[in-house]
Symmetry: C2
Subunit: 217 residues, 2 copies
């Protein structure tokens, strides 16, 4: 018996999207161990999420679970990687080659998950004209010209907070469709522009606070 429960056209909720990579990494581990099939109950035991939640989450993805045996692992990996966008290469620019920006340029892992940073922008004369990890650094003034050649959709924002909004506006004017915002600044964008906030510092704040609570006990 094969079950397919949901049309892929539904907008997938963000919590589901955040959990899918957990199922993917779990499936990869099981594949390494030589397993062929996995059920939502098995995944549930491994990662401590309700099996019904897992089945519901996976119903957004175009994969059929088979009664008793579950999902075919190889197929599950393939479908999840594809669904999550990790198999397509998404070209991006990075704005602001400071400490964090330079660090992200160094992280080749992003490419394995579908993000290729094809260029970076800064105004520091020591950086402009050089490259990091093979990625050229251009002067910020060259952005509009480069956009015509490279046609990227994604901008990674790692500038100081005092210019975060200004650079965002320039990115959007130049045709950027999605901003991956690493600054702790809440940027404003037109409605059709995607913003993904990843403030390491906000995560640090949460961690410090929780840690202090446990240390007090």
């Amino acid at each position: 018996m094969v079950t397919r429960t949901r049309k892929c056209t539904d907008k997938i909720p963000e919590p589901t999207l955040r959990r899918l990579p957990w199922y993917l990494s779990n499936a990869k581990l099981l594949k390494e161990k030589g397993e062929k099939y996995v059920s939502s109950t098995q995944i549930s035991k491994e990662i401590n999420i309700d099996a019904s939640q897992i089945a519901k989450d996976l119903s957004y993805v175009n994969i059929a679970g088979r009664t008793r045996v579950g999902y075919e692992i190889e197929l599950l990996i393939e479908v999840l990687e594809d669904f999550l966008g990790f198999t397509n290469i998404h070209r991006a620019y990075l704005f602001g080659v400071g400490s964090l920006g330079a660090a992200l340029l160094q992280d080749s892992g992003l490419l394995h998950f579908g993000l290729e940073i094809v260029g970076a922008f800064d105004i520091n004369p020591d950086l402009v004209g050089t490259s990091i990890n093979g990625i050229p650094i251009y002067h910020s003034d060259e952005f509009e010209e480069r956009m015509k050649l490279d046609r990227v959709n994604i901008g990674v924002l790692t500038v100081p907070i005092n210019i975060a909004q200004e650079i965002t506006d320039k990115m959007v004017d130049g045709g950027i469709k999605a901003v991956w915002n690493f600054t702790p600044f809440r940027i404003r964008v037109p409605e059709h522009i995607v913003v993904q906030n990843t403030s390491l510092y906000a995560h640090l704040a949460v961690m410090f606070n929780r840690l202090n609570e446990t240390l007090k006990k």
Copy 2:
């Protein structure tokens, strides 16, 4: 008139903790512009969050707003930085000096927000004994010995997913109290251990999905 609405002993909700850095960066910008006071209504206009929500969030922090003028900016910055743990240095180890791990060692910005990585662990003989950005890289076997000297509370997890759980268990056994998990693997820990998940890849997945939706339109 001075208003103080909440005891600091209440457990602060995570969404509040995530918003506080936005208010902090906003206050820093206003200070740069020479402003002395800011009201929650002003912050609200800048970052598009309800003024009542901002006032509620700030009630968790030990700061008093004054009727009509609002919060004293310099004090607000000081109190927020202190509250968020950015003024204390929290010592940490990093586990797994791969692409992302090495990138994080390069990011001196973490130190400005209170996280000092004092050592890293790996098993790669090309890395052990070297250092990145002044941070020494030790062999993973040295962890327990080092812990006795360094007494850190935080472990940054940047290992491959197939050893994420094993390394987490070792960290916890060695006395680590909080794990900053950058892997896309859902680690399990005893109840008293803090876990902060920051999967760049999960964030990428969300961004790709939303971007694809807007590009289809």
